[in-house]
C-alpha cells in the first residue's frame, strides 16, 4: 500500500551531487532526466565555479528509456572532459538509467585513460536518500580513484563528519573539527570546502587514521578504507558541541592518536577556562528561568539530534522530551544510537524516536506536556507548530529557511557558545 510521507527531511540519493559540489573543482556529471539537478539544488550557498544549473546532464527521455541511454552518457562525459575544466568528474546516475539497466559503470570505465579522473556512483533515488548517496560518492572515490599507499604520514588524520549542504553548517563545522584536531598537534585532512579538493583526496590513503564523527553516515566508508588501505578508524558518534562533549572528544582523539595526556589536558584547560568565563558572565541570564524552557525537543538527523541533545542536557542543564531522528537511519544502527541517548549527565536518559513523517512528529510535539513553553530545535517545518504552542524555535536542520549561513559552526567550544547565543537570543526576544 502506498504511503504518504509528510514533510520529508532529505532528498533522493542523487542529492549526493551536493557532496561532489562541496569538493573543490569536482564536477558531477548527471545521468538522469532533465530537471533532477534543478529540483535537488534549492539550498542556498550552492552557486560558484560549478553550480547545479550547469552540471552536465544526459537529460534522458523516453527514447533512452526504450533504447538505453549509454550512448548519450558516453558523449556527455566525453564533451564534459573537453569543455569543462575540472579536477574530478563524478558520474551520478538517477532513477531512470538504473531502472532500465544502463551499464553506466561500463561506460565510465572506458574513460580510465582520460587525462582527468572519471568515477561513477550509483545514486538512484530508490536506493536510498542523500545520506546514502553521500556514502556512495565517498565509496566511489575509495574504490575507483584511490590506491593503497605504502607511505603513511605520522599524525595525518582524515576527518569525516557532516553531509555537505544537507547540513547548512557543514563548512564551519568541518573547519572547527580541523582546528580542534590541529591543536592536539595532529594534521587534519578533509576533502570538502575551500582549498581542499583533489590534493587532499590524494592524501587519504596516507593518513594514520580516519576520524568519523557521525552516528552512522560514513561508517561503511571508513570500514572500507580500513580494509583497502589498512587505515584504522576512530568512530565517535557524538558531534562535539559545547565544553562537555568537546573535552571528551579531545581526550578520545588524543588517546587514539597517542598524544601526551598533559598536552591534551592543556588544550582542554585553555578552552574550558574561556568557555566558562563566558558562561559565568551570563549566569544571571541562565538563572532567570522565565526566559528559557524547561524541556526541549530536537528534530534533525542523527548527528545533530544526538550532538545537541547531549549539549542541552550536559551543558545547559535542560530536560529532554522526545528527540526525533529524521534521516531514515538504517535499522541496524538504531539500537546503538538509542543507547547513546541514554548516556547523559545527571542520570538523565532521552527518549528517541526514529520518525520520518512530519505529521506524526508534530502530533507528538503537540500532545507532550513540556511543563511550560517548549524549546524546539528543528527544521523550518517545526516553526509553525512551535509557535502554536508559544514555544521558542531555532532552525538548525534541513530545511533551513530563516537564516543565511556562510561558515558558522555549532561545533566545539566556540560552536557551543554560538548555539547558546542563538537559543537565548530567541528566548529573550519573547519579553521585548
Amino acid at each position: 500500500m502506498a504511503k504518504l510521507l509528510d514533510k520529508q527531511r532529505y532528498k533522493c540519493a542523487l542529492g549526493a551531487m551536493q557532496t561532489v559540489q562541496a569538493i573543490e573543482r569536482a564536477l558531477p556529471v548527471l545521468h538522469s532526466g532533465p530537471g533532477c539537478a534543478q529540483k535537488l539544488s534549492e539550498s542556498t550557498g550552492s552557486s560558484g565555479y560549478f553550480s547545479p544549473n550547469i552540471f552536465p546532464c544526459t537529460s534522458i527521455n523516453e527514447k533512452d528509456v526504450v533504447f538505453g541511454g549509454v550512448k548519450k552518457l558516453r558523449s556527455t562525459i566525453d564533451n564534459a572532459l573537453k569543455v569543462v575544466d575540472a579536477d574530478l568528474y563524478v558520474v551520478l546516475t538517477g532513477c531512470i538509467p538504473e531502472i532500465v539497466g544502463d551499464d553506466s559503470g561500463e561506460v565510465v570505465s572506458e574513460f580510465a585513460d582520460a587525462d582527468k579522473p572519471v568515477i561513477y556512483a550509483p545514486t538512484a533515488g530508490f536506493k536510498g536518500n542523500n545520506y546514502k548517496g553521500h556514502e556512495q560518492v565517498i565509496d566511489a572515490i575509495i574504490d575507483q580513484y584511490l590506491k593503497k599507499s605504502d607511505k603513511k604520514e605520522k599524525g595525518l588524520v582524515n576527518i569525516w563528519a557532516d553531509v555537505p549542504y544537507q547540513d547548512l553548517f557543514w563548512l564551519g563545522n568541518l573547519r572547527e573539527l580541523e582546528n580542534l584536531v590541529r591543536e592536539l598537534g595532529l594534521t587534519p585532512n578533509t576533502i570538502f570546502g575551500y582549498k581542499r579538493g583533489i590534493e587532499n583526496i590524494k592524501k587519504i590513503p596516507e593518513a594514520e587514521f580516519n576520524l568519523l564523527i557521525s552516528p552512522w553516515v560514513g561508517l561503511s566508508n571508513v570500514k572500507k578504507m580500513e580494509k583497502k588501505f589498512g587505515t584504522p578508524y576512530l568512530h565517535l558518534k557524538t558531534l562535539p558541541v559545547g565544553a562537555t562533549e568537546t573535552s571528551k572528544f579531545l581526550r578520545e582523539v588524543g588517546k587514539f592518536a597517542g598524544v601526551e595526556e598533559e598536552k591534551v589536558e592543556a588544550v582542554i584547560k585553555e578552552h574550558e577556562d574561556y568557555y566558562y568565563y563566558l558562561i559565568e558572565r551570563y549566569a544571571d541570564l541562565f538563572l532567570e528561568n522565565r526566559v528559557i524552557n524547561k524541556q526541549f525537543t530536537i528534530v534533525a538527523d542523527a548527528l545533530y539530534t544526538l550532538g545537541l541533545t547531549k549539549f542541552l542536557v550536559n551543558d545547559l542543564g535542560l530536560v529532554p522530551a522526545t528527540q526525533f531522528v529524521v534521516d531514515d537511519t538504517p535499522q541496524k544502527y538504531r539500537e546503538e544510537i538509542t543507547e547513546e541517548f541514554k548516556k547523559l549527565n545527571f542520570g538523565i536518559e532521552a527518549n528517541v524516536s526514529f520518525e520520518t513523517d512530519g505529521y506524526k512528529i508534530h502530533e507528538e510535539i503537540k500532545s507532550h506536556d513540556y511543563h511550560g513553553y517548549p524549546l524546539v530545535l528543528g527544521g523550518y517545518y517545526e516553526k509553525e507548530v512551535t509557535e502554536s504552542l508559544k514555544g521558542n524555535f531555532l532552525n538548525i536542520s534541513w530545511p533551513v529557511q530563516d537564516k543565511v549561513v556562510f561558515d558558522r559552526s555549532y561545533v566545539g567550544y566556540s560552536g557551543g557558545i554560538r548555539l547558546i547565543e542563538d537559543i537565548y537570543t530567541i528566548a529573550v526576544q519573547r519579553f521585548n
Binding site: K63, V65, V66, F67, I99, V100, G101
Partner: protein
C-alpha cells in the same frame, strides 16, 4: 488495445528515413507484443502532385507564406510540419532517423512519442512493444 506505429523506411527493413524526407511511411499495427504492417501512408499528398519531377528548392513565394528559413531544403516551416504530423495523429509513436524541431513540437503537442533512431525495424519493435506492454500493464521496467 492495439495501437499504431509509423516508421520511416525506404526498404521496409531499416529505420533509415528522416521525417522531413519521407514521402511515405509504413504504418504498423501492434497488439501486445505482436505487430504487422497495416498500410503505407503518403505524407506529402499535395506536394507530390505539385512538385513531382522538380528539384526541391526554397522558392521565394513559399518562404514568404510560411516563414521558411530559406535553407534550400524544401522546408515549409511549422505549418508544413503540422500538416504532415496531422496525417499521423492516430499513431502512438513514430520512428524516424531524425525528426526536425518544428515537427518534434507538433508531435509532442499531440502526445505522440518520437524515437529518432537508426536500426532494424524488428529490433526497434522488440524494444518498443515490450516497453508499451509494461507501461500499459503498470509493470516495472526493471522486470
Amino acid at each position: 488495445m492495439g495501437y499504431l506505429i509509423a516508421v520511416g523506411s525506404s526498404d521496409e527493413i531499416n529505420v533509415n528515413l528522416k521525417f522531413g524526407e519521407a514521402d511515405e511511411v509504413l504504418i504498423y499495427e501492434v497488439e501486445g507484443l505482436s505487430y504487422s504492417l497495416k498500410e503505407k501512408r503518403k505524407l506529402n499528398k499535395e506536394k507530390d502532385t505539385k512538385e513531382t519531377g522538380t528539384d526541391i528548392t526554397c522558392s521565394s513565394e513559399s518562404c514568404k507564406s510560411c516563414n521558411c528559413s530559406g535553407n534550400g531544403q524544401g522546408c515549409n516551416g511549422g505549418s508544413d510540419a503540422e500538416e504532415k504530423v496531422n496525417i499521423l495523429k492516430d499513431c502512438r509513436c513514430v520512428l524516424f532517423k531524425k525528426v526536425g524541431f518544428q515537427a518534434q513540437k507538433q508531435f509532442e503537442k499531440k502526445a505522440i512519442s518520437i524515437f529518432d533512431i537508426e536500426c532494424e525495424i524488428s529490433d526497434a519493435f522488440e524494444k518498443i512493444t515490450k516497453y508499451y506492454e509494461k507501461a500499459d500493464s503498470h509493470t516495472s521496467l526493471r522486470k
